[in-house]
Symmetry: C2
Subunit: 426 residues, 2 copies
């Protein structure tokens, strides 16, 4: 299929939260203590909440920037594309990139909202979290119907409360929550603890996908403080196999047959090996470890419960039938540094050359629609949803970005992972 004829829904992009986020959504009695943006003396814009300061890392908002200027320095709103934090501008950027619809993970709260969870005052934490979810569902996703797949943050510190929040946002049409790769490493009960059962019951009842983004365990893939940062960048996607294995062998899958997880930004090329590995592990060991999937193989069980996705993954495309043609979605990763925006359609068309149209349609948009109970065609015809049609609407939209002011940042070439500690983790 030609790039211009694709219909593309991305199941993994990111919103950089605008300073006005809480204005219309936080109850008055918490307004003074809600997260807010301030400008540092270095000229960066940072969020402050509960005594913590959280910068927006440059590398996480590089859309439009030349690669020579990538880096981990904190940035300011006027140094990044408005499409990262302004929904009208975002839709223009999506059009320019040929993207029909997009699911957006959070930035400053962390992928599972742990910045909010850290507040000792749990009433405050819950008010802030609900305000965030209302903003995300009603405002960010609601302004341009059919363009944003709504997604909510979880209440990590209280599974019953989390279940209530899932039901609350589901009533507004939100069928995705972002969750952590590993609650145990964040200091909460593990996936193997019954603590989370109320949440799992709620997501099953409400047809909500638990979307687990790489890097959400609170542990970066850091081999050593003096390792080059390239090591961590390489390892992050495969690291999500830990969450996949943790959940696949857990009681959760067995007790909640309707539960569904998405391995967000996890890539796909490693999945066929992983599925062989779990089946071999089952074959060699289940007689003494006691694993029992009712006579089925773990690889079969995986395909019922896990959605995978890729940005551009030649091996995953070749092995798509080993993964499961219904288990693969596409992602853009705008505005992060792994993204090929605005040229992602051309990149995908090249990687997927020779894939039959019906299979490619499943990967580019149909699987995302089905897993996330999302129907953009209720708002826009298929004909108007192709890459070519969307780009025609964006004619003249500038996709470049102003270069950093010279000298504002020290050059970060050759950076080691030790410099990242406590900074880029989400």
């Amino acid at each position: 299929m030609n790039a211009e004829d694709l219909i593309m829904i991305s199941v993994d992009d990111h919103v950089v939260e605008p300073p006005s986020l809480f204005d219309a959504h936080i109850p008055d009695r918490y307004r003074d203590r809600a997260p807010r943006v301030r400008r540092t003396k270095d000229g960066a814009d940072v969020w402050t909440f509960n005594g913590a300061t959280i910068p927006n890392i440059g590398l996480n908002a590089v859309a439009g920037r030349p690669k020579e200027e990538y880096g981990i320095e904190p940035t300011a709103f006027d140094e990044i594309r408005p499409g990262t934090y302004d929904i009208d501008e975002r839709v223009k950027d999506m059009n320019a990139g040929g993207i029909l619809a997009s699911m957006n993970f959070p930035s400053f709260p962390g992928f599972s909202g742990r910045v909010f969870s850290a507040a000792d005052d749990k009433d405050l934490a819950l008010a802030v979290l609900r305000a965030y979810n209302d903003w995300h569902v009603d405002e960010w996703a609601g302004t341009h119907p059919g363009r944003i797949i709504p997604m909510a943050l979880p209440v990590l510190w209280d599974a019953e409360e989390c279940a209530r929040e899932v039901r609350r946002v589901a009533a507004k049409g939100c069928h995705s929550i972002t969750f952590t790769e590993n609650p145990a490493t964040l200091g909460y009960p593990s996936f193997h603890n019954e603590y989370w059962d109320p949440l799992w019951r709620a997501v099953c009842d409400e047809n909500v996908v638990v979307s687990i983004h790489l890097g959400s365990s609170g542990r970066l893939s850091v081999t050593a403080p003096d390792a080059p940062i390239d090591v961590m960048i390489t390892l992050q996607p495969m690291n999500i196999c830990q969450a996949a294995a943790d959940l696949l062998w857990s009681r959760v899958i067995k007790k909640f047959p309707g539960i569904r997880f998405a391995l967000s930004e996890g890539g796909t090329g490693w999945i066929p090996y992983f599925l062989d590995r779990v089946d071999r592990t089952y074959d060699m060991h289940h007689l003494w470890t006691g694993q029992d999937f009712g006579g089925r193989l773990p690889s079969e069980v995986f395909r019922e419960h896990f959605l995978t996705c890729f940005i551009s993954d030649p091996v995953g495309v070749r092995l798509r039938h080993d993964i499961g043609i219904g288990n693969i979605a596409w992602e853009c990763d705008y505005p992060h540094s792994d993204s090929s925006w605005p040229h992602a359609p051309e990149e995908l068309a090249e990687v997927a050359a020779g894939v039959p149209d019906d299979e490619l349609n499943r990967i580019t948009h149909e699987n995302a629609m089905r897993w996330y109970s999302f129907d953009p065609f209720a708002h826009r015809s298929r004909e108007d949803s192709t890459v070519g049609a969307l780009r025609a609407e964006a004619a003249g939209h500038d996709v470049s970005i102003r270069s950093y002011d010279k000298g504002r940042f020290e050059k970060s070439v050759g950076i080691e992972m030790g410099r990242l500690s406590g900074q880029a983790t989400a």
Copy 2:
């Protein structure tokens, strides 16, 4: 190729050290303080050294045992196959399994000898380590020439001394040292530190492969203490991608162009995805991270420096040309629980159906011979080296094992990872 016609060299098996190991090799002045075996009141045989007690885990010596009896309990020598610790019996087991030659990683010292390194008296530690290496090279590998690929333990606490030891054993024909996935997690300088340069210089000079076994970082892939043990079993091979990334992006590869590493028991099916990932990481990020391979791609560099291996890996076999047909070796993993001994040739023949003979020969033995500078055909003709010929020599050899005495062990079904802490790690 039929299973009986294969010629099989395994690059990853294990020796369970016999109680007499040090008798002929430790200098008299250290004899009293050398590691020794004692019987516990529970009926297990354990090694003691430097105040530590190290059991032989049942799961690591299950060759011949029915899967219902697998478990992590400590065992005794009379409960495991003599082939695990007696070289004459080992060769009979190899013959019965159709295995021409085998490289054997250590058991009780840990994969990188950290049990020895832990001794405060470094003169004692060095004497013990040298005795071990002399035993392994002269006795274990030397008794049946052409059947065992010799391998030495490293001196972790002194890179200069380690280089001397590499040169000393290389003079005896040993072209492999076993090393850790990550020296930093063991408390030593990381792969990125110049500390190790004398060692890298020695292995390049002496044509020695640095063989890195999964699980040698001192960190198990434990997601949570209450996770089922199946999670860890699944994850261990892919976890070695951390070492691969750590080394590939390091200065070691750039400064020592002749250096070679083996990713032992790491599997292969994930490698094509990994290579795409490192090339994409290079493409997207090298302009700001400063990585420079002299114009080449990291995937090309990987194929010059890394040997991979598999037990039975259908995905790896299909993608063998993406991995590199010269970069794949076969392993048996005798006597561990992932092994299919004595039926491994049949398993491989099935997985490799359709692979041309010349490619299969590289995987089954030619790559192992070339990487490890090892020539079994100096001692035995090709015709006498096939699976069929070796098995004919083993006619009548019993490959079963006596069942555990009933009640000696509590049943370990449903075991959680927390029970493993400090026990199965190597």
